[in-house]
């Protein structure tokens, strides 16, 4: 294993895929010489040149549309939307065009388009730069949704996304970009649609999405060491398609469930996981307690740190939920 930052893992994925396939090109705001808003793209423009790493005007509608039109006509573009908060600007291209074009036209065409964006709070970026809006894309069928929660996945899933012949949207967590972690040596690709059991346990399942994976793992280790509570942590890794089997099996085993996801609690992806778990054929009969969700509370993300910290999910809030469910 090698130690890299999450941002480096992303850059490696992009560089490798661009070397591999000339039809992969990157467009977005400030992705060129500037190296991306978060600095993680530095070096790509230098290596691949202006045509393949291309700055755009501030025109999210045209950016997504350009990626789509190119994907329909022989390219394999990777498009960046700086913050997922800006998805609304390009809302129609995402929800009505990218998501629908293959199905609606009777499967005539493949749409090998990758859209990268960032989610997450935690740096006082306030209401319009801190959201985690992946559930919106999940709600409208037609785009695969990837939420890498580990360094390994930040690279492996992005490579899979780029090679996929369907539109894939990758939500990277902006607070993880500068964090260090381990990835395998050599080339690897992590298939879409397979959840990972990050840690086995018998007492309770946490389904943890994106940055909630590390938080949940830390909590699980702590509770195991201190109190002998064994928590199973399941990371869905891709939300569409969702590997519900792994989740259901875990809950059947532990009988208790907490879902941690940074999306807003109302109508978030956490609720969707619950729906799958309690439906006929799910794990209803195995449940020993109610299910709790830890997400971003249902207000816009506030700016001031005490407010923001209260609103976004944290290890402490996951612990609170775990204890509630365990103590039931």
């Amino acid at each position: 294993m090698r130690e890299v930052t999450y941002g480096e893992a992303v850059r490696e994925a992009l560089a490798e895929e661009m070397r591999r396939d000339k039809m992969v090109a990157l467009i977005g705001e400030d992705v060129g010489p500037y190296g991306g808003n978060f600095g993680i793209l530095k070096g790509l423009w230098e290596e691949f040149g202006e045509e393949r790493v291309r700055d755009t005007p501030i025109s999210e509608v045209a950016i997504v549309g350009a990626g789509l039109g190119a994907a329909l006509t022989g390219m394999r573009p990777v498009v960046e939307i700086m913050f997922c908060d800006f998805m609304g600007v390009a809302g129609d291209q995402l929800l009505n065009q990218v998501a629908k074009i293959r199905y609606m036209f009777g499967g005539q065409v493949e749409v090998p388009l990758t859209i990268r964006t960032t989610l997450g709070g935690g740096r006082s970026s306030a209401a319009q730069h801190s959201q985690s809006l992946h559930a919106i894309i999940c709600h409208v069928p037609g785009i695969k949704v990837v939420v890498p929660g580990t360094h390994e996945d930040a690279k492996g899933l992005l490579k899979a996304a780029i090679r996929d012949n369907n539109p894939v949207m990758v939500f990277e967590h902006k607070m993880m970009y500068n964090k260090k972690g381990f990835i395998p040596e050599g080339e690897y690709v992590t298939p879409l649609g397979q959840a990972a059991v990050r840690r086995e346990g018998k007492d309770l399942t946490i389904v943890a999405i994106s940055s909630m994976v590390y938080e949940s793992m830390a909590l699980a280790e702590e509770l195991s060491a201190k109190e002998g509570i064994e928590i199973e942590v399941v990371d869905p890794r891709t939300l569409v398609p969702l590997d519900e089997e792994t989740i259901i099996n875990s809950v059947r085993k532990t009988g208790r469930l907490v879902v941690a996801d940074e999306g807003h609690e109302t109508c978030g992806f956490a609720a969707e996981i619950i729906r799958r778990v309690v439906k006929v054929g799910g794990a209803f009969d195995y449940l020993d307690a109610p299910i709790e969700v830890v997400g971003t509370r249902d207000v816009p993300l506030p700016f001031s740190p005490p407010l923001e910290n209260y609103v976004i999910p944290s290890k402490a809030r996951i612990e609170e939920a775990v204890r509630k469910v365990l103590g039931y």
């Binding site: 509608v61 190119a70 329909l72 291209q93 009505n96 036209f105 398609p241």
Partner: protein
Amino acid sequence: MELSKEKKLWMLERMLQIRRFEEQVYDCFLKNKIPGFAHLYIGEEAVAVGACANLREDDFITSTHRGHGHLLAKGADPDRAMAEIFGRRTGYCLGRGGTMHIADFSLGILGANGIVGGGLPISVGAGWSAKYRGTDQVTVCFFGDGASNQGAFHESVNLASVWNLPVIFVCENNQFGISVHQSRHQKIKDVAVRAKAYDIPGVIVDGMDVLAVYEACREAVERARQGGGPTIVECKTYRFMGHHVGDPGTVYRDKEEVEAWKEKCPIKCFADKLIAEGVMTAAEFEALDKRVTEQMLAAVKFAEESPWPEPEEAMEGLYV
């Protein structure tokens, strides 16, 4: 440049195909044979045909909610188009798309669009791709006067301009967005003046005259193919029918206006001209019309006799 006789007859035939196709759609719609709704292209045939007459099979177009004309002009199969409108499994999109969502990617038809302005950004992507891949393919993007007020229009033309992409933005200015006259949706009289906002050429042309449209688009297509970047071509035209079948089109415009425009019928005028020029005889025109009409009746028959999709097919084909 003097056009060949074949080319002229090709244009006439294509316009006629569109007209007769749309008439069948209208008819079948009134007979409740067609589900949903339909926006007819009748009156505007010269635009699609004049523009597409410049295109190769490997060139691209993006289309609109009023898309049947664009499809046929780019060479789509009337049978499969009609079957799609009928919602049958033999349709272009297996019945999943319907009137507003027909595409034929093998002909570079990147799809009609139910969203006003929705096709513009896609056309820019096709243009970017052609340039990136080093081909000389061009993309024609059809859009309406109403669509020219969408943000998507602005972002798309700006991107095509600053990246110097081979896209021809063909505005079908039929003066209305549903019931709203141009004077009530924009202060400008000519959509083409918007080209100035992107420092690209903008031309205005009589959209009822297929040769005029052809010529204007020819220049724009040549320029685009040679790396000269995008153009806006505004075609002044008119829809003879309501906004969609079901709208009589009378609340917001008066009969005289409609009648006056019908006088300029692009097909009749062009046919008359070809007859006057001796390119064809009146009898030949009649024969052509008969043939085309039969072709469209056959398309209806094909559609009607085609099977419906099975319900469960709805769950197929979301992903590769």
